[in-house]
Amino acid sequence: MLNYALRRLLITIPILILSTFLTFGFVSSSGDPLADLRQQPNITQEQIQRVREMRGLDDPFPVQYLRWVEQIPQGGFGEYLISPRPIWPDLQRVMGNTLQLVVAAELIAFAIAVTLGAVSAKKQYSVFDYSTTTLSFLGFSMPSFWFALLLQVGVVIIYRWTGYRIFPIANLSSPNPGTGMAFWLDRAHHLVLPIASLAIFSIASYSRYMRASMLEVMSSDYIRTARAKGLSERKITTRHMMRNALIPTVTVAALSFGTLISGAIVIETVFGLDGMGRYFINVIGRRDPYPIMAWLVIVGFFLMLANLLADLLYGYLDPRIRYE
């Protein structure tokens, strides 16, 4: 297993290199990074020319790409286009915050969705089943930013009635969050609403997959066998049905990690969180290609990790999937 994980990790290296190439190709062909600069009245042609030469924007594509990609293993993504500040420290800071948000949302969504899906499959056509189905349709059809706004309004309305602030509606921490446990409790308190708004779509989607694959598993022969040999219903449900039904759900969850990152862009903007999503909106607004490319490479790396994790999970769920 460890061997397999290591080998998989090695395979991701060429894929990562490919992804840097695609990223650079995509962003650098997207447009002239100096277009904004040209329109500013107080910047002269000479200054623009100096930036061009400094960043080597006139060099051929392969030269530019190599110069850019060389910096990455040395622990950095270079500097911003205009200001000579390094990109990496900024990214590092927002990365941690976003990971907390996204990973928590993914895990919570997964746990809730698996439970909902399994129960509504076991009780097919019951009131519970119909209500989860209806709710999941609603979850599919609701823009997450709108749901986030509703949560914010709801919290404020409760505050006006009771004078009690149940959840913070902005920022990642209080002004004086404290340290250690107190800091993390404060952080969790701040992340409740963002996680809820981010998870709602995933819960809706994963629970549908879980329900469908549960129903499929439930009618298979080995479940009849398990019943025939006298296993308790609880054991059949958890060990035989859910375990097998989890496999497609895990796939969907792993493939949806990108969707969660997309969601984080919007949710962080609504809640004013200092994470990768808001950072991305900022650098997009400045049309600075370097942080955009750095962002894409980092996200690509995380997506690959999510995939790897899903692959390892398959092996755990279904030992027939061998790691050859």
Partner: protein, 337 residues
């Protein structure tokens, strides 16, 4: 439909001469002439007064879909919304930038037909929402058409030819599926500029075809081994003819269902882009933009975010319900109730 009162007396399906081999056989009582299939002519009659009516797959599908109340209701709703949105000039009580100076920041009221209230400038939100819906629908329709064309073609080619064509196309599709869609869209929007609904629609479409391509590929992989495909090939039909005349019609079901998914997703995506200020150009009030504009005063003027938001939810929900109805209707194991 009216079922015979004693189910046991119904003739078994296999005892009965079915007129066409294509569809399933349905049993109707003889007083229910309405239920006869259009092309069945006179149906054989049995001693207990039951008739057998043969129906093609398409007829069965149509019957099941038209009976799906939720789906039909949603269709009707979408039809009304679409008609209203594309005739916004005639339907909306005000222009989208028209200002009612007397009624600023008014909650929804029948007075002056401000059904969705007005904003701080006195602009009527009902009218703005109607215009905004037009933008959303334009984008969504463009996305649905283009991504369906791309997805169907690439999926068909991959499934039909297999081999390296398949490998390359599907790896490409995987790449697009896994990438955070919104991030790429934002980069496009930032560098190529915002634009008309058409432009935004094309960009979204270029990134949302892969799921359909995978589905179509899957169906094609299984269909290409079927006898009728071999028969067509033996009769000398070319690849294109086999793919698009013979195999494609049997793929229509999943394509239609996927189209509803793409439509709903496109509505939400366009709203998100507009909310972030990178959607369709500002003077046109896109629904997401309306919500963003209402954000600053959402605690006092709740209707400014609730009304456009509810509109988005209602449209997306209706599209999803239609998709659900299609899926049920296309499912051959679905029992008629």
């Amino acid at each position: 439909m009216s079922e015979p009162s004693q189910p046991d007396e119904r003739p078994k399906a296999q005892d009965v001469p079915v007129r066409t081999g294509l569809g399933g056989a349905d049993i109707v009582t003889d007083d229910a002439g309405l239920h006869r299939a259009d092309d069945s002519g006179e149906a054989p009659e049995y001693h207990d007064g039951t008739q057998i009516v043969a129906r093609s797959q398409w007829q069965l599908f149509r019957r099941r879909f038209f009976r799906h109340k939720l789906a039909m209701g949603s269709m009707l709703f979408l039809l009304i919304i679409t008609l209203a949105a594309f005739n916004a000039e005639r339907v909306a009580p005000y222009g989208f930038n028209e200002i009612d100076v007397v009624m600023r920041s008014t909650p929804p009221t029948f007075e002056g037909w401000h059904l969705f209230g007005t904003d701080q400038l006195g602009r009527d939100y009902f009218s703005r929402v109607i215009y905004g819906t037009r933008v959303s629908l334009q984008v969504a329709v463009v996305v649905a058409i283009i991504s369906t064309l791309i997805g169907t073609t690439l999926g068909a080619v991959a499934g039909y030819y297999r081999g390296w064509v398949d490998a390359i196309l599907m790896r490409f599709a995987d790449l697009i599926i896994i990438v955070p869609l919104l991030a790429v869209l934002l980069i496009f929007a930032a560098f190529f500029g915002q634009g008309q609904p058409m432009r935004i629609g094309v960009i979204i479409a270029l990134l949302s075809w892969p799921s359909l391509a995978r589905i179509v590929r899957g169906v094609f992989l299984s269909l290409r081994e079927k006898e009728y495909v071999q028969a067509a090939r033996a009769a000398g039909a070319g690849d294109l003819r086999i793919m698009f005349r013979h195999m494609l019609p049997n793929t229509m079901g999943p394509i239609l269902v996927n189209m509803t998914l793409v439509l709903a997703a496109a509505i939400l995506l366009e709203a998100t882009l507009a909310f972030l200020g990178l959607g369709v150009n500002p003077p046109t009030p896109a629904l997401g933009l309306l919500i963003n504009a209402g954000r600053s005063s959402m605690l006092t003027s709740w209707w400014l975010i609730i009304m456009p938001g509810l509109t988005i939810v209602a449209i997306a929900l209706a599209i999803n319900f239609v998709g659900d109805g299609l899926r049920d209707a296309l499912d051959p194991t679905q029992q008629e109730k």
